[in-house]
Point group: D2
Chain length 115, copies 4
């Protein structure tokens, strides 16, 4: 797998071969995306932050699988809506850089979550 | 932006410049990932499936922004855990192809969500 | 079970008997609450809206179980933070009634989700 | 507000007066429930577990408001599906008590999240 467009094409093909398109309205795909993201959360919810940074092999593998599921639906939903994910991410990085200038944020005592 | 490794590097740099690493335990990033996925859901929750496939320009743009946020935390969390997202997605596609053979699934009357 | 305070007391006792309090920081309980809410979503994600209003007995029973799990963590988190849920709901109803006057909302062409 | 049935009745009335029933398919209400649960998570995601147990007044008030929103949709969805929440919670407590006997769980070295 080289890149996101190739993944999108392979997911599209996978879905078409199974006649699953009819289930894949953007509304349904958004639901599936959030369900998969919650399955990532489930693997972390009772761990301390320290434990979450030192996963054993089994849990690390399960996290990787759940992140792959998130990517699957993220790519699928973007493909359905003709959204270029990397381009959207690039725009977001530029917007965030303007909103949170590094030199001002770094020395700022405000809590991170107030940004 | 060419690919996911470049995005991961740029997000890493963005975070380091702002001294935000200390907030980015995998546990916290998993929470943020699911919060962003829910912000996608929020844009679809009162639309019919039909409406969700015919978004007006303003909502389409907001969906793209939220999907970029999901990708941001997905890439960030994968980077923190040394997970190669495309490789994980490739493994998942192979596993799903074995689990749901196209010829058997297509003619199967069972509901999709029982798979 | 008569009411929410009784449920809160019984959940508190259940947790204490198992020495699970140490896992129940409000942060962790918030995560668990959202994971349980997603398990409700999972039961609906591939259904049409019409199908979601006409569940078969098996799915209806599973939805009831997942809603009970949501209530469990909702009551547990509120108890940990000394929040009176019914009082908070009452305040919210009053605030919403002021924000969305029935006579103005009813005839309003704006989409529901813009409220 | 005395109890959940009264809350359910008042929410039902609130919705009917605004002609919002048509948006409230169980599928949509499940989505809204999870979105509200994520808004609770958002208030905790960058806090440490310790900080989450010692909220300042402003954040405590915002958490209470979000928990009220979760309850709102939980009660609304249960009402739409004729599910008695307290009865479902009671059944769940009994099932969990059988599944996790206190004397065996307490001394068990297995991680909590394997239960």
């Amino acid at each position: 797998m080289r890149d996101l467009p190739e993944l999108a094409a392979r997911v599209r093909e996978f879905v078409a071969e199974r006649d699953w398109d009819r289930f894949h309205s953007p509304k349904n795909l958004a639901m599936a995306l959030s369900v998969e993201a919650s399955e990532v959360v489930e693997l972390f919810q009772w761990l301390t932050e320290e434990e979450s940074a030192a996963l054993d092999d089994d849990r690390h593998r399960r996290v990787a699988e759940e992140l792959a599921d998130v990517l699957w639906f993220l790519v699928r939903l973007s493909d359905r809506l003709d959204i270029d994910l990397l381009e959207a991410a690039e725009r977001k990085l530029a917007a965030n850089a303007a909103k949170y200038p590094a030199d001002r944020v770094r020395g700022d005592a405000r809590k991170y979550d107030e940004y």
